[in-house]
Symmetry: C2
Subunit: 332 residues, 2 copies
DNA sequence: GTAAAATATTTGTCATAGACAAAAACTTCG
DNA sequence: CGAAGTTTTTGTCTATGACAAATATTTTAC
């Protein structure tokens, strides 16, 4: 993680501002090699090749060396498919549909939510702000709602639905990725501010918060931390992507009672499950594991020795339950 | 990025706290499949296989299905090798060395730095705090130094060397990854606090800050943002990992003057270079690109139309140069 | 009819081995 | 000593086959 060295190679001005020549575009067509497609879509190279073999899609062109080059429409379609798969659909049904047909499928998974009641969703209020590209206004509105509702309700009623809504809006093509990034950055800012100013109570349980490798999303972690801090739990966050081995070491070193893990739905259920099972295997039995994230709502059987928390709403209940059990143990 | 759904599947207590059965460890030996090794070391599956074929290392065992399973020592050695390669060494010379021999090599790249002068490095002050596992104390010390030195000097003289030092300490086995994570989290916290309380000047240039996909490290970005904010530049951060296409869109939408990219040394030079060249190709010529990070110190020829900033020290100079050129343009 | 068990399909990941181009290191020449 | 040419190193790509885990479908039992 060493990031910056202190050497100073920029002493020559001529080198410093080489803003002069500016390259000319060679071809207006942008073809993407398989390695890059893997990075952009999150679909493994092996998977891309096997889909081509089995389903006939994607059907990349070949360059001079016989290597696959993907035109942008196919990459775009792959991105959408990946997105739908995260929502539980299977690739066999998706690859041979047109982009238009795929877009329709999105509706299916959201009907229950949007038409559930007449009450205004946070999305109707915030989406224009995000699209207006006014970072300052967005941040002030968030800060305002935070003040009005308090941290707990702000997270549960505003931020959590907003995350879902923003993700869906992106899926429907209503938002660009950069707008999502910008939103995410503002929310993180507001949440971190709130956490910093919240008084630190040192009450049981002591929690170690992080995500497993591959899960990059910090917002889930921050939301959880906020909900836990409000309830007086002592949180220690390692940030995202801590390897299992290091979670075990850190949990021991800091003598925590519980390890809290956050999972976004951008990760596949079975992988997440396997990773949690693995962690449970190696972590001391006296230390609890709480796995949070909407991901778990779709799971059939729970993992032994792990508490699944599918909603932030559930955090207070889980906490009080833990405290109850723990106090009993002291008396017993 | 949809992270949490609002469904509440935890209403049944029995499911909620399945902390009962607790699995028994089957085998004390921890064998790692190739996919996981890829994730943990950052070395592609193809690379792992081709090294095995060519150099005879790693030499994984095979499970019942003839699939590779890597014992922990080999994974550890791979991690160290990866680390050394990021420093510019070549794998052929490394794979057949013992772990002890590899550790020696680390010295080579740091001699110039540590023995350069007698002045106390921030490391001597902070390393004990990190190892003491007292997050609160560490944070207070950081905040104290921030107050004492001011944001600019704090970033350049304390945080930047600390990042390098912490990375090296990890390499030498003096720090665990989780300790690095914890340190990183505290630093981010302090930097974000400082940025939030800094008054927002709206002076040219307008910057869009982010990292390219694959570059996860946020600290470099935050440090840059701090240095830029101090100098009065208007920063808009998208957080890490924005695809090139979206950087182009965002830069246009927000009418920025410059796109600032941060690169840690955990990424390979040629890949970074290629990515920057690609971005330059697609970004409007009127928008500048500043690529920051110690990475670029090792580069031979600069990229046309891109300003490389190898050190945070250089930021004020680059800024004033930009302003100078830009004001000239106005009068011309 | 529903629930459980058995069977079938879908799907991702792994294996093998050969090929090649870009980068780095090493020679040779002026 | 530096430029130009040559060799080695190295990562990534290709192709096809195989298999197990997850999911869907059918059959069987109650």
């Amino acid at each position: 993680m060493s990031i910056m060295t202190v050497s100073f190679i920029c002493s020559e001005r001529s080198q410093l501002s080489k803003t002069i020549p500016a390259p000319k575009r060679t071809k207006p067509v942008l073809l993407t090699a398989i390695g890059r497609v893997e990075r952009e879509t999150g679909l493994a190279k092996d998977t891309l090749r096997v889909w081509e073999r089995r389903y006939g899609f994607p059907k990349p062109l070949r360059d001079g060396n016989g290597e696959r080059v993907y035109p942008p429409e196919q990459v775009e379609k792959l991105r959408v498919i990946r997105r739908l798969m995260d929502g539980g659909m299977r690739p066999g049904k998706l690859v041979n549909a047109t982009l238009a047909q795929l877009s329709e499928r999105f509706g299916a998974s959201r009907v229950e939510d949007s038409s559930r009641s007449g009450e205004p969703s946070p999305m109707t209020e915030y989406l224009p702000l995000i699209k207006a590209r006014e970072a300052g206004v967005l941040q002030r509105q968030l800060a305002h709602d935070l003040m009005r509702l308090g941290l707990q309700r702000f997270v549960v009623d505003v931020v959590a639905p907003l995350n879902v809504g923003v993700g869906e809006a992106w899926t429907r093509g209503e938002l660009e990725i950069y707008e999502e990034h910008l939103y995410s950055e503002q929310v993180q800012h507001v949440l971190r501010q709130a956490l910093a100013s919240a008084p630190r109570m040192t009450r049981d349980p002591r929690l170690l918060l992080t995500t497993l490798p591959g899960e990059q999303h910090q917002i889930g972690l921050l939301m959880a931390q906020a909900c836990l801090a409000v309830e007086g739990a002592e949180c220690l966050s390692l940030g995202p992507q801590t390897p299992a081995r290091d979670i075990v070491l850190a949990a021991r070193a800091h003598r925590v009672d519980v390890v809290g893990l956050s999972f976004s739905s951008a990760i596949r259920l079975r992988e997440a499950r396997a990773a949690v099972v693995d962690l449970r295997k190696h972590l001391d039995r006296s230390i609890g594991i709480w796995a949070g994230g909407g991901l778990w709502a779709g799971m059939k059987e729970p993992v032994a020795g792990v508490t699944m928390i599918a909603s932030l709403d559930a955090i207070p209940a889980v906490l009080s339950q833990w405290r109850e059990q723990h106090s009993k143990a002291v008396y017993a």
